[in-house]
Assembly symmetry: C2
């Protein structure tokens, strides 16, 4: 079988998957899209674990069959050599700094409560985690707000994959229970990202 294009294994409501869909749209790159239902265990089946042994979407299968996991590593792979990663060393490291911030200090506290509220039953014991997660999430949003008080974008005053990574779950933070009124600079930045030419929505099926 010939695999001529990129294949993205994904789940429509995933912000991590949306990062890749948004960048591929901005780059105008064609790809095959395969949706897996994470709620019924599709990412824990042997066929998918052979592609990503950590059992998570998004996973990108390259033209030669190699699979790449971790949303922010996939962003880097697709964006190297384009306008979405700065050319200079410090700017590149700052893009990574914000992407590691996103995965360590933001995603577990903004994406995970959204998942618990949207996808788990009303009586799930995991709802007990919500208040702790929302508190840490507000701390992450405050760090972003302070950074954006004097900037248009996160790094090098231009739209990079750091913005794409942080936008993904921040723009749906209200679905996790966050009120964004206290973060005016964050809201202006979200509007700026949404106004970029070629922007697509999380809800848009490729």
């Amino acid at each position: 079988m010939r695999i001529a294009v990129l294949t993205l294994y994904d789940y429509l409501d995933s912000g991590n998957g949306y990062k890749i869909r948004l960048l591929l749209a901005l780059l105008d790159r064609p790809y095959r899209w395969v949706e897996l239902d994470i709620m019924t265990g599709a990412t824990r089946m042997p066929a998918f674990l052979a592609k990503n042994p950590n059992g998570r979407i998004p996973t990108l299968q390259l033209e030669d069959g190699t699979c790449l996991a971790e949303s922010n590593a996939i962003l880097w792979y697709l964006a190297e050599g384009t306008r979405f990663i700065p050319a200079e060393l410090l700017g590149r490291a700052q893009v990574l700094q914000w992407m590691f911030f996103e995965q360590y200090s933001h995603e577990p506290y903004v994406a995970t409560p959204r998942f618990i509220k949207k996808h788990l039953p009303a009586d799930s014991p995991r709802r007990a985690e919500l208040s702790m997660r929302l508190e840490q999430g507000r701390a992450a949003l405050a760090v972003m707000e302070a950074h954006l008080a004097t900037r248009q974008y996160f790094v090098a005053e231009r739209y990079t994959i750091a913005d794409i990574a942080l936008h993904a779950y921040t723009h749906v933070a209200h679905e996790a229970g966050f009120e964004l009124a206290p973060y005016p600079h964050l809201r202006a930045w979200l509007a700026r990202v949404a106004a970029e030419p070629g922007h697509v929505l999380l809800t848009r099926r490729p």
Copy 2:
């Protein structure tokens, strides 16, 4: 005041800080080392928050005063252009894939239980998190074990910053309560990393 060298803000027992100390030793780069006591809130003081608004070590202050946070972004900054990051696109993305795996699927479940056991009081309510964290940590170690069953190093069959990032907390996983006997390939890889010329120990004060 002239800042002629790199300054690393750090805490000796931090595996995230140790990643940077280890790479700087391997690169034979001089630096100034400033230890902050994370247990008494030194990283939450205004003077340090001005360097890293997210209030975490390690933070690297560059020669021009710019501060860079997030251990794996600092590794990237120091290693670009050296033998510790592959030159080709896919290898670079795979290094990032394993570093994002480390921060999202490994560090919270291997480093955090170690922190709870070593640094929090015996009656800390956070001890209730230990069994969940150790279970997730064993899943991360199993993913690493399977990957290393056919490889000497994580990426491109050579020692990269992906190995440095994953070694940091894995080599002290026993302090978190993990038993490494079920992971022979992981143990062989740990021994391989420790045998690299120029290796330094986590407990060695710079």
